[in-house]
Structure formats: structure tokens, C-alpha cells
């Protein structure tokens, strides 16, 4: 990755740009940007997805109950 703020092109040839980019191993210092809640970011994301599943299940039950 090039230095910030300059109009130079991003180097896409670094190892694993495609897959590892998804987990941003090259992007940030995970220690500096540690999640203030639940200990780690994957746990925070799991919470968000878990709540979504719970909401869908509850809405499904709600719809079945009153429809």
C-alpha cells in the first residue's frame, strides 16, 4: 500500500491482495485499533449477525402469530 495522501497508484501486487484484503491484515494495526467492546472485532461482527438472525426469527414468529 502506498503512503497516504499522495496521488500514486496502489500496489496491487503485494502478497494475497485478493483474499487477505478481506481481513485487512495489511491495512491496520489491529493492536492499536482493538475493539473497545467484547475483546475483538470478529466477536463484535458475530454479535451484529447474531442480532440480525434473532430479529428475523422474532419477526417470523410475530408474522405467524398475527397474520
Amino acid at each position: 500500500m502506498q503512503e497516504a495522501g499522495k496521488n500514486t497508484r496502489i500496489d496491487t501486487s503485494y502478497k494475497g491482495y485478493f483474499i487477505f484484503n478481506i481481513f485487512n491484515y495489511n491495512m491496520i494495526n489491529e493492536e492499536e485499533e482493538k475493539s473497545p467492546i467484547l475483546g475483538s472485532w470478529p466477536r463484535v461482527y458475530a454479535l451484529v449477525i447474531g442480532v440480525l438472525v434473532l430479529i428475523i426469527v422474532l419477526l417470523y414468529i410475530f408474522t405467524r402469530q398475527y397474520q
Partner: protein
């Protein structure tokens, strides 16, 4: 509106705008003006992101949608939490690392200037038009209350927002949005309490849910897979995911909000907050609309909610025809009310067979009332071909002004204004950012002083504000506003998202390939929309994959041609 309501409205608006202006004083450079010096904590980011998405349309059109179409619109937001997770993992760290002002700067660093310029142009086109529609929504309120032409109220509301956005930039936007959302949450709970409180004494909240359920309004989940069905769980999760990912990841009005975060962690937490709260909030707003619907099963609703159109027909040669329809509507309501009361008795007796039977009769009576409403709309069209025959946006407004007590009306009207101001201010700020950073600074004046860029940013905000006001003059012709904004977004977001996903995940694709792929994909999306090829949410998925596929094919052809030249 009473004097008390005007006082509540005036104090709420002035206090919040005054606070935003006071907190944003002393802005000296464009980083401060466009990104609030990147110093905002997570709750500012989260509330700002929510306030940007929740325009006045959310509070006017969504309850109307709940009233006419039930809860099924909530499925539209199912893809949002998933999009928030992807944004936190990929987009935020990249933007933060590159220290960009706009999302489109990243595209030049990854591809080239023409791809950046094309994407920024598509954004300006889409956001400029959408922001115009968001000004129109609250303008119709003032127009109804003050009984003056909607064009005047568009100008007044537009100039108010232009004023504080031009002065305070992103800081004013963020500080006002923090308080706007607090007042909005408080007002929503109050509105929900009031509508349940206004139901007849023998009808509990649970009874109201049963009644609306029997009339087809409790339809929050539809598991059937149908490409032509606008709202089901699949279009919500898949189509909604692509739309929300594109909106939050590539629309500068949102990117500009989380770029104000003081660190990656603070920006991420802001989006996580949005991912957790958005669906319950939207469900709640739709449920208020469903409760308003139930309320009108016991009290006669107006045959048409837009008073301005009723006045027009009453002045026309069709007055007698309209009055006949109005009488028929009153009779239909009385018949329906008797059946609703039978349904309530059946619910209280827990007799399932009687509940089903009464439910069917109520539904049939409701269909009769709806058919009279359609006849009224047809009569209005016959009288004036330009008549606005979709009254969905007026339903909640009509309920607030006619049924709620003094003081509450002023507060709820203030909420609708605040919501409009929040999203419009973010819209103007992002339009100015993109115009100055991606066009003016990049293509025209590369080396200017901070003072000069700041001044240009302010003038650009004014220019976009005026453009949005002019667009709002034409917004009445687009029907249901919340759908119109989402359809407009779906025409561009898929293509823009496709460009960004190629940038992130397809490292061998060059700028030239993605540029032409985007042009092809956009042309196809416009064709698909004009020919009604599929429900609009799917346009986001199609546009995104079209860019990725066509870019890959073009790149293959380019590589082959290069190989051939080299070998010959």
C-alpha cells in the same frame, strides 16, 4: 396548528441549529469543513450515519407505507447489518489508511483519473436528485399547515439548511444530527404511545395487532422467492445487502460521516451501532403506520389524505361526483366498523372460527373502501391529468395534525423537519466535498491556499443547495417518496459498488477495463429499469455483477491483444 405547537416547533428547530452553528465556529481549513477534523467519537459517527439515512421521508412516507402496505418494507433493511460488517472489515481501514477526503479518491489511487471522475459524476447525479426529493418531503407539511404553495415552502426549508451547512460544514452537520436523533427517538416513542392511547377503550395493543393482522398488515416476513416481488426476505438480504453496501461504502454522503471518526475503531463502532439499531427502528416506524391504520378502522379516515387535491376537485365540475363517492365512502366505513367490532368480539372470545370469518368480512369491506378511494383518485386524474393521486405521504401528516393533542403536534412536525435537515445537510456536504476534491481540486486548481479551498467549498454548497431546491419543485410527480429515492439509488449504486468491488478484490483488472464495464453496466441497468425487467432491489445486484463480469471480459480481451502484439 396552535400557537403552542408553533412555539414548540420554533424552539426545537432554533435550539438545535443554534447549537450546531455554535459548536462548528472557527473552521479554518477544508479538513475541518468537510470532515470535522476527523475527531468525532463513535456515538457521533453512529447517530450521524443514522440521521443521514433517516430523512423526513422516513417519518412521512414509512408510516404511510405501513398504513397501505403493512410491515413488509422492513425486509428491505435485512442486508444492512451484513453490509455494516463488510464495511468495517474492508472499506473503513482502506479509506483510513489512504487518508482520503472522498471515496472516489481511492479509485484514482487504484485505477486512474477517468474511473474516479466517472464514479464521482454518477454519485453527483444520483445524490443531487435524491437530496432534492428529501427537501420536498417536509415542504409538503408546511404547505398543508400554512395553506401556501409547496414551492414557497421548498425554498424556505432549503435555505434554512443551506444556511447552517454553508457556515459550519461537517461539524455543524454532525453536532446538529446528534441532537436531531435524540429528539427523533423521543418523538417516535411519544407518537407510538399516542396512537395506541387513541384506540377505543375495549381495544388493547394486542387486539390492534390481531385486527391489522387479519387485514393483511402484519406481513413482516415473506419467505417466498419471487424476482418480481419488491419486498421479501431474499430481496431484502441479497438485494438489500448490495444496495446498503453501495450506499454506505461508496456514497460520499455516508462515507463522509464515518471519515469524521477519530480512529478506525470509532468509525467501526459507529457503523456497528447502526447495524444493531436500524431494523428495530424501521420496524417501529412501520408499526406506527399499522397502528394508524387500525385507528382508522374505528374512526372514519378522509377519503383522500391530500387536502390540496380535495380542494381542487371541490372547485371543479366533478364536485357532485366527488360528493357521491364521499357519501359512499362514509357508508362503507360504517359497514366496515360494525364488522370490525364483530372481529374485536370474536378476538375477545378466543373463537378461532369466528375470528377467521369476521376477518374475511372486514377484509372484504376494506377492499370496498379502497375501491372507492381509487375511484376518487381516478376522478382527480380526470379533472386534472397532473393531479397527485398518491396520498401515501400525507397519511401520517393528516393523522398528526387532526388527531394528536396540542404541543405533541409541534414536536412531531419538528421531528420531520429535523430528519429532513439532517439528511439534506449531509447530502449538501457530500456534494460539495466531491465537487471540490474530485473535480475542482483534482482537475482545475491543484495548488490553492486552504482559505481558497474553504471558500470554494462554501460556494459549492450554496450552488448544490440551489440545484436541490429546483429538483424539489418536480418531486411531487414521483409518487411514493421513500420508494422513489430507493429506486433512484438502485439505478446507480450497483454500478458504483461494482467499480469498488473490482478495485478491492480483482487485482488484475485495470482502470480502462472497469471504466468501459461501468458504462456498459449502467446502460443495461437503465434499460432494465425502463423495461421493468425485475423488481428494483435486484438492479443493485445485477449492476454490481455486470461491472465485475464485463470488466473481467474486457481485461481478458486487452491481455490477449497485448499478447498477440508482443508475439507478432
Amino acid at each position: 396548528m396552535s400557537i403552542t405547537d408553533w412555539i414548540v416547533l420554533g424552539i426545537t428547530l432554533l435550539a438545535i441549529i443554534g447549537y450546531g452553528i455554535w459548536k462548528s465556529r472557527g473552521t479554518k481549513n477544508i479538513e475541518g469543513y468537510l470532515l470535522a477534523d476527523r475527531k468525532m467519537p463513535w456515538y457521533h459517527v453512529g447517530l450521524s450515519v443514522m440521521a443521514t439515512q433517516a430523512s423526513a421521508i422516513t417519518f412521512l412516507s414509512a408510516p404511510g407505507q405501513g398504513y397501505t402496505d403493512g410491515l413488509r418494507f422492513v425486509q428491505f433493511y435485512f442486508g444492512l447489518p451484513l453490509a455494516m460488517v463488510v464495511l468495517c472489515i474492508t472499506f473503513i481501514p482502506i479509506y483510513n489508511k489512504l487518508n482520503v477526503f472522498t471515496a472516489y479518491e481511492f479509485l484514482e489511487k487504484r485505477f486512474d483519473n477517468k474511473t474516479r471522475t466517472l464514479t464521482a459524476f454518477l454519485f453527483l447525479l444520483q445524490r443531487g436528485l435524491s437530496t432534492g426529493i428529501t427537501i420536498y418531503a417536509p415542504a409538503i407539511i408546511l404547505s398543508t399547515i400554512l395553506n401556501i404553495d409547496v414551492n414557497y415552502t421548498i425554498v424556505i426549508n432549503g435555505l434554512l439548511v443551506i444556511g447552517y451547512t454553508v457556515y459550519g460544514g461537517a461539524k455543524a452537520v454532525s453536532y446538529t444530527q446528534l441532537f436531531q436523533m435524540s429528539v427523533i427517538f423521543a418523538g417516535l416513542f411519544l407518537a407510538a404511545y399516542m396512537v395506541v392511547h387513541l384506540l377505543p377503550e375495549n381495544v388493547s395493543f394486542s387486539d390492534a395487532l390481531h385486527i391489522s393482522g387479519k387485514m393483511g398488515k402484519i406481513n413482516a416476513i415473506d419467505t417466498s422467492f419471487d424476482l418480481d416481488n419488491k419486498y421479501n426476505i431474499w430481496s431484502g438480504i441479497i438485494g438489500g445487502f448490495f444496495l446498503q453496501l453501495s450506499y454506505f461504502g461508496t456514497d460520499q454522503s455516508q462515507v463522509g460521516r464515518y471519515l469524521t471518526g477519530k480512529s478506525v475503531a470509532q468509525s467501526r463502532l459507529g457503523l456497528v451501532m447502526n447495524g444493531l439499531i436500524k431494523i428495530p427502528m424501521q420496524f417501529f416506524i412501520l408499526l406506527i403506520g399499522v397502528m394508524v391504520f387500525t385507528f382508522y378502522q374505528f374512526h372514519q379516515a378522509p377519503v383522500f389524505f391530500n387536502k390540496a387535491e380535495i380542494k381542487q376537485i371541490e372547485k371543479s365540475a366533478y364536485k357532485a361526483d366527488y360528493q357521491k363517492l364521499e357519501q359512499a365512502y362514509t357508508l362503507a366505513h360504517r359497514e366496515k366498523q360494525a364488522q370490525v367490532n364483530r372481529l374485536v368480539d370474536a378476538i375477545h372470545s378466543h373463537n378461532e372460527a369466528a375470528i377467521d370469518e369476521a376477518g374475511k368480512q372486514v377484509k372484504a369491506s376494506d377492499a370496498k373502501s379502497n375501491s372507492i378511494r381509487k375511484e376518487v383518485a381516478a376522478l382527480m386524474k380526470k379533472n386534472s391529468p397532473t393531479a397527485d393521486t398518491n396520498d401515501t405521504n400525507y397519511i401520517f401528516l393528516s393523522f398528526i395534525t387532526q388527531q394528536l393533542p396540542v404541543g405533541v403536534v409541534g414536536l412531531l412536525i419538528a421531528i420531520i423537519f429535523l430528519a429532513s435537515m439532517g439528511s439534506m445537510a449531509s447530502g449538501l456536504n457530500s456534494l460539495a466535498s466531491t465537487t471540490v476534491v474530485d473535480f475542482y481540486k483534482r482537475l482545475y486548481k491543484k495548488e490553492e491556499s486552504e482559505k481558497s479551498y474553504l471558500s470554494t467549498s462554501r460556494w459549492t454548497t450554496v450552488a448544490w443547495g440551489l440545484f436541490c431546491i429546483v429538483t424539489a419543485f418536480y418531486a411531487s410527480r414521483v409518487g411514493n417518496l421513500i420508494e422513489a429515492v430507493n429506486i433512484l439509488g438502485s439505478l446507480f449504486y450497483g454500478t458504483i459498488l461494482g467499480i469498488f468491488l473490482v478495485a478491492f478484490y480483482m487485482k488484475n483488472i485495470s482502470g480502462t477495463a472497469v471504466f468501459y464495464a461501468a458504462l456498459v453496466a449502467e446502460a443495461f441497468i437503465v434499460y432494465a429499469w425502463m423495461t421493468d425487467l425485475t423488481a428494483f432491489l435486484w438492479l443493485n445486484v445485477i449492476g454490481c455483477f455486470a461491472v465485475m463480469l464485463v470488466a473481467w471480459i474486457i481485461q481478458m480481451v486487452m491481455n490477449k491483444s497485448k499478447e498477440n502484439k508482443t508475439s507478432s
